[in-house]
Symmetry: C2
Subunit: 335 residues, 2 copies
C-alpha cells in the first residue's frame, strides 16, 4: 500500500466527514473521490489507518471518522489553506473603515470572524508594550478610595480602584498626580516598573506610602491592560452547528465564561508569527474542550486571535479566515 494514497484516503475521509457529519465508508469514498482503486483496496488502507490510530469506527459496522490524531495529521501534512472568497476579502477590507477606536475595531473584528467561520471567535486585547503613557489621573471616590486611570497614546484606557490605607486629601492627590505625570509621561508602559520606584522615592516623606500604593496601582494597570481582557462573539454558533449533533455545549460555554481559562488557552498556543496554530480535541489543556478545537494565531505585538469550534470543523477554510483576519488586524493596529 502506497504512502501517498494512504494520506489521500485520510484526507478524503476528513473532508467527507466534515462535510456530511456522518461516518464515511469505503464505498462512498471511491464514489465521491476518483481514487483509481476499488473499495476493497480502500478497506485495506482504512484498516491500516485505524491501526495507526488515525481513524476509528463508532461501531462495528459503520464508516470511519477521524480521530484527534487523524485531524492532527491532516492539519499538519495534508491540508492546503483555501483562498478566501471575494466576498470574504471584501468583508475584511471593510474593517479598515470607520473610527480607529481599539475597542470598536476588536468588537467588529470578532464579529466578522465569527461570521466568516461560523464558530465562536475570540480576540485578546492587544499588547501595549510599546504604548506610551499619555496621561495619569487620580480621582478621589471616597475618603480612602482612589480611582487610578492610566491612558496610553494608543487610546487604551485602564482604570482601577485602589484602597489607600488612610484618609487621602485632594491636595495630596493633585500633587502626586503632577509628580507622576511629570516623570512618566511619554514613557513606555513596559518601562513603568523601572521608573515608578524612583518617582516614589522623590516624594515628600508624608506622602511616600500613598505614592507607593498609587504606583502599584499604575503598574498593575500597565500589566493588566496588556493581557487581561478578551472579547468574543458567535456563541450562538455553538448551538447552531450542533443541531442534531451532540457536542455537549455546556462545558464549552463554561470555559468561554472563564476568561482565565480562555487566556490560558490562547497563550499556551504556539507563537509562530507566520502560521496559525491548531489545538485539537484532547490536546486542549481544558477538559471541557475535549471535543473542541482551537485555531488561533498572533497579531500585532503578540496578542492572539482565534476561533473555537467542534473538532469536526473545516480546518483549511477556518485557518485561512483566522490568518487573514489576523493580518488585517496587525496592519490596522500597527504591529
Amino acid at each position: 500500500m502506497s504512502e501517498p494514497r494512504k494520506l489521500e484516503v485520510l484526507r478524503a475521509i476528513v473532508e467527507d466527514y466534515v462535510h456530511s457529519r456522518e461516518p464515511v465508508g469505503s464505498k462512498a469514498l471511491v464514489e465521491r473521490h476518483h481514487l483509481g482503486v476499488s473499495s476493497a483496496t480502500i478497506r485495506n488502507d482504512m484498516a491500516v489507518l485505524e491501526e495507526e490510530g488515525l481513524i476509528a469506527a463508532p461501531h462495528t459496522s459503520a464508516g470511519r471518522i477521524p480521530t484527534d490524531k487523524g485531524y492532527r495529521l491532516f492539519v499538519d501534512r495534508i491540508s492546503q489553506v483555501k483562498p478566501l472568497s471575494a466576498a470574504e476579502r471584501r468583508a475584511i477590507h471593510s474593517l479598515l473603515e470607520g473610527p480607529d477606536d481599539v475597542d470598536d475595531i476588536l468588537e467588529r473584528t470578532v464579529r466578522l470572524l465569527s461570521q466568516l467561520t461560523n464558530q465562536v471567535a475570540v480576540v485578546q486585547y492587544p499588547h501595549s508594550n510599546r504604548a506610551l503613557v499619555r496621561h495619569v489621573e487620580f480621582v478621589l471616590l471616597a475618603p480612602k478610595q482612589v480611582l487610578v486611570v492610566l491612558i496610553a497614546d494608543t487610546g487604551s484606557v485602564g482604570q482601577k480602584v485602589i484602597d489607600a490605607g488612610s484618609d487621602v486629601s485632594n491636595e495630596a492627590l493633585m500633587l502626586l498626580r503632577s509628580r507622576f505625570l511629570g516623570s512618566i509621561a511619554a514613557t513606555q508602559m513596559a518601562l513603568l516598573p523601572q521608573v515608578l520606584p524612583s518617582v516614589v522615592a522623590l516624594c515628600p516623606p508624608e506622602l511616600r506610602s500613598l505614592a507607593q500604593t498609587l504606583a502599584q496601582g499604575l503598574q498593575s494597570l500597565s500589566d493588566t491592560s496588556r493581557e487581561e481582557r478578551i472579547l468574543m462573539a458567535g456563541t450562538a454558533n455553538l448551538a447552531r452547528s450542533n443541531v442534531d449533533f451532540p457536542l455537549s455545549i455546556g462545558p464549552v460555554l463554561e470555559a468561554l465564561e472563564e476568561q482565565v481559562v480562555m487566556l490560558r488557552l490562547l497563550s499556551d498556543m504556539g507563537d509562530d508569527p507566520r502560521g496559525v496554530t491548531v489545538s485539537i480535541g484532547r490536546e486542549n489543556p481544558y477538559d471541557g474542550l475535549a471535543e473542541a478545537s482551537v485555531v488561533a494565531t498572533g497579531y500585532g505585538s503578540g496578542a492572539k486571535v482565534g476561533i473555537l469550534g467542534p473538532t469536526r470543523m473545516d480546518y483549511p477554510t477556518t485557518m485561512a479566515a483566522v490568518r487573514a483576519v489576523a493580518r488585517y488586524l496587525s496592519r490596522i493596529l500597527g504591529g
Copy 2:
C-alpha cells in the same frame, strides 16, 4: 367549584411541573398536596382551567402543563416570594466587601445572581444622572483623531475616539481641555447638554468647530455611559438546565449576544421600583425568547438587573433572588 381551590390547583400544577419537569396528572396532584378532595374533583377543576387557557395537555392522555397565561396568573396572584436561605443571604452580603469599583461590583453581582438562580444573569450599567464630572481628557491619537475621556466622581470612565475634520494641534487640545474642565468640572452629567454649548461659544473662533466636535463627544459619553453597556454571566446554565429538555437554546444565545436586544428587553419591562417585573414566554418582544422568561427589576437610579431562563422556572425563588440582589446593589452604589 370554588374559586380559591381552582387557584390552589393551578399553583400545585405549576409547582409540581417546575419541580419535576413532567406533565402533572390529577392523581399525583392529590397525593402530593393535601387538597381535601378526590382526584375526580381535581379533574373537573382541571377541565375548567384548561378551558380558560391556563393549562394545556401535551397529548390526550398525559398530565397538564401550565401555559404562559397560567404562569402569568401564578406570578401575579398566587405565588408568594420565598425568603432566601441563610447561605444565600451570606453570599449577597459578601458583595459588600472588596473594592468598590463599579465594574468589579457589577461583575461579581452578575456572577452571584447567575449562581443563585441557575439562570443567565444580566445587569445594565448604572445610570449616572447624578454623577458629577470629575475630569476630562483629550488625547491626540493621530493627526485627525482625538480620544475623549470623561471621568465621573463615581469612578466610571467613558471613552470614545472622535474624528476631527482637520488636523489638530496638541496645543489647541490642551487649551480646550482646560476650558472644558474649568466650565464643567463638578457639573452633573445630566446637565451637560445645557452647559456644553455655552463653553463652545466662548472659545476662540478658530477653535470653535473643534470645540463643537469635542463637545458632542463628551455629550454622547454622558449619554452612553448611562445606558449602553450590559454585563452577563451564567450562559452555561442554559445548557445545563435544559439537559434532556428541548428549549432550543440557539435563538436565546443569539438574543443574548445582541446587546441592543437585551437593552430593549430590559427597558421595555415595567419600572415598579418596589417589585420585580416578569415577562413570560411569548410576552417577550423578541421571537427567539418565546420559550423564555425574564425576571428583572430596577436598582439605583433606574438601571435594570435581572435574569433570563426557561418559562418553566421557579418564579418565587428567582424573584426573591433578583429582588434581594437589586436591593444590595442599590445600597452599595448609592441609589
